[in-house]
């Protein structure tokens, strides 16, 4: 079998196997460890003689370091060394970079950028010394910090079809709106941390990462050592959301210091440093032009976006990614422009592209539906293209209509008033909004090893990571299902770069890609078992440790070890692949103060086979919580005079708190997508955020009649535009 996935696997093998664990809402095997403090996170490994490193952030936004007053600080108690090495990272690595990011901390690209590492015997000593370290700078006075004040240029060729301007002119109904979204930080619970330990030329790094096979390359390249001499251990991760796709400052500085000092060194970012130095999601400006005919059929779609990044960064938030495939309209213009500012590196934050692109598209669709006088659900359903616009590719599977219908029924969409300002409860305007969910589906190269042990137990091994998303659970379930072994006899080892290279966690592809590799390894084991039983593999029935009713241990004189591999193939090119869904939101807007509180939300999602109903639901729930944050509160606020981030902790950067998150209903729609993967599964890790904030915006409008075009929709933006609270 070739590694690449070229033809859809129509066998749906996981529907024929007998163990019955696939899809079950099983607990995460490492969940209790995490909840009880027994999972050892990166910074928590206890190495003897470990020295403590603290990074020093620049107090300018752009310029050069001219002098570091080392001597004053070297004399402080416990201080071992100060590093401002050329190899230290100026920026963190982008997802799947696989090579060193921009190094050399003598240049300052953004405020707070690490310029030195102070190492001491204790964390307190290192912190005191890091704060005391005086650094002289040569400040660049004409640097650009304000995205509203820079020039933009196309980041890629615009995707054009037909004549959008003409479609707008000739349309029965059209809208032309410009929206803005603010920069976001992943704000994962666990800050970035590394402990570096050298044994001669070999480095072991305990870190918190999403994609070890790339991270090893990035780290080796940054340090100028061979990849084979770098091992990364990342068994437990307290959230990543894109911020740990590539290596960051902690890893390289810890490794450099440990090599120099000849003892282990730990470097943990402070919460403020996480905000100031780790990838942000770019703020965006987005112009949406929609045109439709009298029947509410879209004739034109324009989605143009302006995003920013540091100079020399290749990443541009792919805002229009889902607009390409989601709705019909023969006249199209999708364009992305980039401006250069001296603010932290912009990169992938959960659902790059769709997270902010979909919320704006879906808010615009609501306006368009209203202009055309059509129910917003009906309007969306009317505009689902039969094939990928402009390219004629078929859709692998698409449960959007089902999601809209099922969600609407469960949510009670028929209770919604068509006009805004129709429902008032005390001080609160109540409204309902809907939005579609869509996120591209990607299969990524992956490898995994499965061992059916002579004692009948199973071991699954991969460098795949588990960010709290469920990799341990799901990979075990796939192997248990395929090999007919009880789940409690299935062990899963992850997060060690010495293990076969999985796909890593990112782009929602971890479970399906590494899962497919596990699936294929199991298929090879199944073939061996069939052979031993002298039956055709189709006649093999594996359940509870029995192979065609014989204890499987009787067939095994030694462990059966197989490595499975998968690579994206023709199925990726021949089809448009995405996961879909729909969001429903009931929001209350205070008629006096403009405070918005979410009362309830429903999400219905179709993403191929559900591999574990509990972890899938959690991903959807978490995504919708992100949607609430994006809609209502989250914003990185910079001082545009200096580039300094003013909202750099969790008191100032407002993620939703429990009270902001009401009961959320998640409906999982079973689907089989044979094109997406041999598991018939697609990605779900990011889907729950892709459009959710649009449903909130639409509910706000339906509640109080104000269309805001600026996220987050905080009271300051609403208060001046609300109708008279008493007169109405």
């Amino acid at each position: 079998m070739s590694d690449s996935y070229d033809t859809p696997d129509q066998r749906n093998l996981l529907d024929q196997t007998a163990q019955g664990v696939i899809g079950q809402p099983l607990d995460r095997p490492e969940g209790a460890l995490k909840a009880c403090g027994q999972a050892t996170y990166a910074a928590e490994h206890d190495l003897t003689n470990c020295a403590e490193g603290v990074l020093v952030g620049a107090t300018i936004g752009c310029g050069r370091v001219v002098r570091i007053h080392r001597d004053e600080v070297l004399a402080m108690p416990g201080v071992l060394a100060i590093y401002a090495d050329q190899a230290m990272l100026r920026r963190n690595a982008q997802g799947t970079a696989g090579e060193a990011p921009i190094q050399d901390v003598t240049t300052v690209d953004y405020y707070g950028q690490p310029v030195a590492l102070v190492v001491a015997e204790s964390f307190e000593q290192a912190t005191a010394a890091a704060k005391a370290l005086r650094v002289d700078y040569d400040v660049t006075t004409d640097a650009d910090f304000d995205p509203a004040a820079v020039e933009y240029e196309p980041s890629e060729e615009a995707d054009e079809l037909g004549d959008l301007d003409r479609a707008m002119d000739e349309a029965a109904f059209s809208i032309d709106r410009t929206f803005t979204t603010e920069a976001h930080n992943s704000a994962a619970m666990e800050p970035h941390a590394s402990i570096a330990d050298w044994d001669g030329r070999k480095l072991t790094l305990y870190g918190s990462f999403q994609m070890l096979k790339y991270n090893v390359k990035e780290l080796a390249d940054s340090l100028g050592v061979a990849e084979k001499n770098v091992r990364i251990l990342s068994p437990y991760i307290g959230g990543g959301f894109g911020s740990k796709l590539g290596i960051s400052h902690d890893a390289v500085s810890a490794a450099l210091a440990a090599r120099e000092l000849g003892r282990p060194v730990r470097v943990t970012l402070t919460r403020q440093q996480v905000f100031e130095t780790i990838t942000r999601r770019s703020e965006t400006r987005q112009r949406l032009r929609l045109a439709c005919d009298r029947q509410g059929r879209l004739t034109g779609i324009g989605h143009e976006a302006w995003v920013t990044n540091l100079p020399d960064e290749g990443f541009a938030e792919p805002v229009t990614q889902a607009t390409k495939f989601l709705y019909a309209g023969q006249n199209r213009r999708l364009a992305l422009s980039i401006g250069r500012v001296q603010l932290t590196t912009a990169g992938s934050v959960r659902a790059p592209g769709e997270a902010v692109g979909m919320q704006v598209l879906e808010a615009a669709m609501d306006e368009m539906a209203e202009a055309a006088g059509i129910d917003p659900i009906e309007f969306r359903k009317r505009n689902l293209p039969a094939e990928l616009p402009g390219e004629g590719l078929p859709y692998s599977s698409r449960m959007l209509t089902e999601a809209l219908d099922r969600g609407a029924r469960s949510f009670g969409w028929d209770q919604r008033h068509q006009q805004p300002c129709q429902r008032r409860e005390g001080e609160w305007w109540i409204g309902m909004g809907v939005a579609s969910a869509a996120r591209v589906n990607i299969l990524s190269k992956a490898e995994a090893r499965v061992t059916l042990r002579a004692d009948g137990g199973v071991l699954v091994e991969s460098d795949q990571t588990d960010l709290g998303t469920g990799s341990y659970a799901i990979l075990g379930q796939i192997a248990a299902e395929m090999l007919g072994v009880p789940i409690d006899r299935t062990d899963v080892a992850l997060g060690d770069s010495d293990l076969p290279a999985g796909a890593g966690s990112g782009g929602s592809w971890g479970a399906t890609s590494t899962g497919s590799a596990v699936f294929r390894a199991c298929e090879a084991i199944r073939a061996t078992l069939a052979h031993k039983l002298s039956v055709d593999v189709d006649e093999l029935r594996l359940k509870d440790g029995l192979a065609n009713d014989r204890p499987v241990t009787e067939l095994l004189d030694k462990d059966l070890v197989e490595t499975g591999r998968i690579e994206p193939g023709k199925t990726m090119k021949d089809y448009s692949q995405a996961s879909y869904g729909a969001f429903f939101c009931e929001a209350a807007v205070n008629a006096f103060t403009g405070e918005t509180r979410i009362r309830r939300m429903t999400g219905a999602f179709g993403f191929g086979r559900v591999l574990n109903a509990k972890t899938a639901r959690s991903q959807c729930l978490g995504g919708m919580v992100w949607g609430i944050g994006s809609a209502l509160t989250e914003a990185m606020e910079f001082d545009h005079r200096t580039g300094r981030l003013m909202t750099h902790d969790l008191a100032e950067y407002h993620v939703p708190v429990h009270r902001d998150v009401p009961a959320i209903e998640v409906i999982l729609l079973e689907e089989r997508d044979t094109v997406a993967s041999p598991l018939q599964a697609k990605g779900v890790g990011e889907l729950g955020i892709c459009g959710a904030a649009g449903a909130v915006a639409n509910a706000i409008y339906n509640a109080c009649g104000v269309r805001l075009h600026s996220f987050p929709m905080t009271p300051d933006k609403l208060v001046g535009r609300l109708p008279d609270p008493v007169g109405a």
Partner: protein, 320 residues
């Protein structure tokens, strides 16, 4: 963190050495020490220094300086007679913080101005004479009333807003003995000396807060914030309002989020007193309250928000 001395106090005494700093719950002071905004030479830990009871006092109540916010808000007498205070406390911070935070510490909590909390910026409050980066900077949650060109910070707390509307008194002990300061006069405006948040002298320690005899009327605390919990007020209103024969017989209003101190405006109260409630009257009251309000860009919206917050509270208080 810098090295400092530490002494645990058995009772509340005046502070006798410059550079000494009281620490109660530590929920504000420790954060500021980690940020290098505060660098005391010695901490006097008063968390076990008694004064942790609520007692009857001249027809009202006396809240010891070390009563935690959680205990205060849960006290049945407070809940029955001064619900405004319980509501204001519960609208602040989080349960964990309220379990540690004390009455004295809460009164003395420092501003949340982001420049104040960042030693790499200019701030007249933190470093007198250095300038004020908030004037032209990120100032969404800054003051619109009683500001100066030296400082536009707010006093961020909730509890003191309620205490101001309730006409409470702060009891302080210094070398010269005990002083009583009305809460409304405890915090000060920045003027050209923003380094001082309040009128407490260097040697003085808060020993308690007294509440006068309960007054009749509706008590409302309204806090407007970006998220529904765990966020400081954009604007808050503490109100005690008594209606008689369809007129506003008595009104006390204090505002948070608008100024360097809980804001009380006699003229606003005078306009309302004796009048039948109506949207037009509320507007008139807001006109008086906000006549001198001045936005600095990011916080311009607070002028409209304060008007609407006042209308909301007055509407609620005067409804059937």
């Amino acid at each position: 963190m810098r090295p400092f001395d530490y002494r645990r106090m058995a009772d509340l005494q005046p502070v006798d050495q410059p550079g000494d700093r009281l620490i109660a719950g530590g929920t504000n002071l420790l954060d500021l020490m980690k940020l290098d905004v505060e660098a005391p030479r010695r901490l006097l830990d008063i968390s076990r220094a008694g004064q942790d009871r609520i007692t009857e006092h001249e027809g009202g109540l006396r809240i010891g300086a070390l009563v935690t916010n959680a205990d205060c808000a849960a006290d049945p007498r407070i809940r029955a007679d001064y619900p405004l205070l319980a509501k204001a406390i519960l609208a602040g911070a989080s349960p964990q913080l309220r379990n540690k935070a004390t009455t004295g510490g809460n009164l003395c909590q420092r501003t949340r101005c982001q420049y104040f909390m960042a030693t790499d910026t200019r701030c007249n409050k933190r470093q007198p004479g250095s300038g004020c980066d908030a004037l032209q900077g990120v100032n969404r949650n800054h003051a619109i009333l009683g500001t100066s060109e030296a400082c536009i910070a707010t006093y961020p707390g909730d509890m003191a807003v309620a205490l101001t509307a309730l006409d409470a008194t702060v009891e302080v002990l210094g070398q010269g003995g005990t002083r009583l300061i009305p809460v409304a006069e405890f915090h000060r405006l920045p003027g050209d000396d923003p380094a001082r948040d309040n009128v407490l002298r260097d040697d003085e320690v808060i020993t308690g807060v007294t509440l006068p005899e309960p007054v009749a009327g509706r008590q409302i605390y309204r806090k407007i914030r970006d998220r529904s919990s765990y966020a400081f007020a954009l604007v808050s209103v503490g109100a005690v309002i008594k209606l008689r024969e369809d007129r506003i017989a008595r009104v006390a209003l204090a505002f948070g989020g608008l100024a360097h101190k809980p804001w009380r405006d006699p003229q606003t109260e005078a306009i309302l007193t004796g009048q039948p409630p109506s949207p037009a009257l509320f507007d008139q009251a807001a006109d008086a309250l906000l006549a001198k309000a001045k936005g600095r860009g990011g916080n311009d919206f607070k002028i409209a928000l304060a008007r609407r917050a006042l209308a909301a509270v007055l509407t609620e208080a005067t409804e059937e």
